[in-house]
């Protein structure tokens, strides 16, 4: 039996770094790299214009052992999860939790309300489950739907209105028809020269430094 790796709990620094991205009053950690002008380096990006090119670039970045990097695409590319080595999300589990909450809450509400005030309707029993089925189903669906949307946003770290990737006008074309691979400077494998070299070797249209406005 292969041993499952036990995930390490995040260190205090990692938690503070994450918090500083969302709350301006939390001091940001010292950057690993700065430009000559003293700006923080967010990472290095490579721009592509064709889907197959970015797909194969993602495979090579994955194989080079990077962990903190991303592929920005105007639409979900089929199979990019494998090319990037993304683990399956836990969202279905959250959704199941939402469904259980909805179903459980609906049943609890209906049994309690019917026993709290015993309404006589055609001599039917107060606490029969059958007439409760429709509302139980509906509330189960309702809570699952909210869990899906809000869970997806929460796991993605959204809403977040500021991000270094919005800093350059070029990057905004990702919502049109451009593709970007961006390796972050916070990646343990990141090295300004070698990372740039890797991205240059992928056949990108353009490789450039992404600065953080600061």
């Amino acid at each position: 039996m292969p041993k499952l790796p036990i995930p390490k709990p995040p260190s205090r620094d990692e938690i503070m770094a994450l918090a500083s991205e969302y709350f301006p009053f939390v001091p940001r950690p010292r950057p690993r790299y700065v430009t000559r002008e003293g700006k923080r380096v967010y990472g290095v990006s490579a721009e592509f214009s064709k889907t197959p090119a970015v797909y194969h670039a993602a495979e090579k970045v994955r194989d080079a052992g990077y962990t903190r990097w991303d592929v920005l695409t105007p639409f979900p590319i089929h199979g990019i999860e494998q090319a990037m080595g993304i683990k399956r999300t836990i969202l279905p589990l959250l959704a199941f939790g939402g469904a259980a909450t909805g179903v459980g809450g609906a049943l609890a509400m209906q049994f309690w309300m019917n026993l709290d005030y015993e309404l006589v309707v055609q001599g039917k029993p107060y606490a029969a489950w059958e007439p409760f089925a429709p509302i139980t189903f509906e509330l189960g669906v309702l809570i699952t739907a909210f869990t899906c949307l809000l869970g997806m946003l929460a796991l993605n770290g959204l809403p977040r209105f500021h991000h270094p990737l919005f800093s350059k006008e070029r990057f905004l074309q990702v919502s049109d028809d451009r593709f970007f691979v961006c390796i972050e400077a916070s990646d343990p494998n990141f090295d300004p020269a070698r990372t740039r070299e890797l991205l240059d070797s992928l056949g990108a249209d353009r490789v450039e430094l992404v600065e953080d406005e600061d």
């Binding site: 990037m84 969202l91 429709p134 209105f161």
Partner: protein
């Protein structure tokens, strides 16, 4: 800045080199229509025509939002918002005066109000059906119609929600529909289908809204980025009004792009098109589709319980849930076609995204669901006879069908001819592939589906067990204008939608285009060599 020059075919058309499709009618183009109708099942017809690139799709769809609206849009919204205002006035008049302003009487205590409710909620079923069921079945053609169908769903459910709300009489007591603690310490009756209906319709409205919004997040981000780019590149224009006499007025207000970047930016919650985000997004979308599918089926089933669980002849039938669901899909698709076929002719480049094949597919769905509805009508009648219940059989024969004794025979036969007979023309390929013929049938179906609900509700109520209780229903002017007003509200919302929100699911549309294939024709890697060294994906 975003209208694309007409494509080659259109250019030839304008130059008079092609005589087909004059005035946008694709009546007799070729055997293959606009190129999306391929008879060979082995060939997959393109979902986007004219060899559009991904960038052009962005340009076309964003253009509908960013360009000044065409003249017909202003004319249309003037008419529909006037109707909506009249409808709102009718609702206020009803609330101030009482439900007596409608033509209801002791016997027919549900009439146009509930007819309109069921009519609108039925129309509201196509959107989520297209999004959810067709998504699970991996029907890629849905990407061209799902956004507008979902929008239509939301607006139809808004119209549907009005009627049960105002028909309760004392509208300010409508909160008692919900289990809210009150000073009488009583709770609603959980054994009543009317309460199930409250939960079903409000859940459906909420889930449809979430589904619609979630699908729109990436497209709103596209609109945000385009506005932002124009601002940064300094090519953003100010809002100017053309005054009579050739002068223009530039009101002191922020640039439209500033407002767009702010509002679309807020709505798109900072979406940045990350593949890690897309992964969770797609999983969330699939789960929503999975739970919305039974939801669509449940909602109209529960609406039908309002009738089926009563002991009234004509209502008390077990076929109601499937019959109502089929009817809802039928009516909903008819409304989608009714709205989109004119837009195909009116909006530039729309035909490249919504092809004849889409229309043909929807016409086939109309044919199938129309036959289901027809089967349900006949089965209802058959069981009324076969069940040997005198009252039930008479309710059908003497109150609905027989023109000599049934006062509402015309309503019944309108329903049959519109819903059962008119879709039969779709057996002919020529008709299915002719958008305007499909449009005419869609109008008939919409009329027929309103009459179906009228027939079910009014003809069953107007003659009860004792002849002394027999009353006809005559609508008052308030009844009529409330319904017309609800159509105005619906169309106004739809017109606002086509101006201010992305009409097509851009990201999804791009994902089904050939350029989106990661192993497409531009792939330099040899797929055989790739699989040989085990790069399995």
């Amino acid at each position: 800045m975003s209208s694309i020059h007409p494509d080659k075919v259109t250019a030839e058309r304008l130059a008079g080199l092609r005589d087909d499709a004059a005035l946008g009618r694709d009546v007799e183009i070729e055997a293959l229509g606009d190129g999306s109708l391929v008879e060979d099942p082995a060939v997959r017809p393109p979902l986007v025509l004219s060899d559009r690139t991904i960038g052009e799709v962005t340009q076309i769809v964003s253009g509908y939002v960013e360009d000044p609206p065409p003249k017909w849009w202003f004319i249309a919204i003037t008419i529909t918002s006037t109707l909506a205002a009249i409808g709102t006035g009718m609702i206020l008049y009803l609330i101030i005066t009482g439900v007596g302003v409608w033509g209801l009487n002791n016997q027919v205590d549900w009439a146009w109000d509930i007819t309109n409710f069921v009519f609108w909620i039925g129309i509201g079923h196509a959107g989520t059906l297209i999004s959810a069921i067709l998504c699970l079945f991996k029907q890629k053609w849905r990407t061209a119609v799902n956004r507008s169908a979902e929008a239509m769903t939301i607006f139809a459910v808004i119209c549907a929600g009005i009627f049960p709300g105002i028909h309760v009489g004392r509208v300010w007591m409508a909160w008692m529909l919900f289990p809210i603690p009150n000073s009488n310490t009583i709770w609603p009756n959980f054994r009543s289908p009317l309460l199930w209906d409250v939960f079903a319709v409000s859940t459906y409205a909420t889930v449809s809204l979430l589904f619609w919004y979630m699908g729109m997040i990436p497209d709103l981000a596209t609109l945000r980025d385009r506005a932002d780019r124009r601002l940064r590149l300094g090519v953003s224009r100010r809002f100017t009004l053309a005054l009579p006499g050739g002068r223009t007025l530039t009101p002191p207000m922020p640039r439209p792009d500033t407002l767009r970047a702010f509002i679309y930016g807020l709505l798109s919650v900072g979406w940045r098109f990350s593949s890690r985000h897309w992964h969770r997004y797609e999983v969330a979308y699939l789960i929503l589709a999975g739970i919305s599918t039974p939801l669509v089926l449940s909602v109209h089933s529960i609406v039908s319980f309002d009738f089926a669980t009563s002991v009234l002849p004509g209502w008390h039938t077990t076929i109601f849930p499937p019959y109502f669901v089929a009817g809802a899909i039928f009516g909903g698709f008819a409304m989608v076609l009714f709205l989109l076929i004119p837009l195909r002719a009116l909006l530039p480049n729309f035909k490249d995204l919504l092809t004849l094949r889409h229309i043909e597919n929807m016409a086939k769905i109309l044919l199938v669901t129309g036959m289901m509805v027809g089967f349900a009508y006949s089965m209802e009648f058959f069981i009324a006879w076969y069940g040997a219940n005198k009252f039930e059989f008479e309710a059908f024969a003497n109150n609905r069908v027989n023109p000599r004794v049934a006062p509402y025979w015309w309503a019944y036969w309108t329903m049959i001819s519109c819903n059962v007979l008119s879709p039969q023309v779709f057996w002919f390929r020529k008709v299915r592939q002719n958008p305007w013929a499909v449009w005419v049938v869609a109008i008939f179906v919409t009329i027929g589906m309103w009459f179906e609900r009228f027939v079910i509700i009014v003809t069953s109520l107007h003659r009860a067990f004792l002849p002394g209780e027999w009353h006809m229903f005559y609508p008052t002017w308030v009844d009529i204008f409330t319904f017309v007003g609800s159509c105005g509200i619906f169309l106004t919302l739809f017109l606002l939608f086509i101006k201010f929100l992305p009409m097509f699911a851009m990201a999804e549309l791009k994902a089904v285009m050939p350029d989106a294939d990661p192993h497409g024709h531009d792939d330099e890697h040899d797929p055989i060599a790739e699989s040989a060294h085990g790069g399995g994906h």
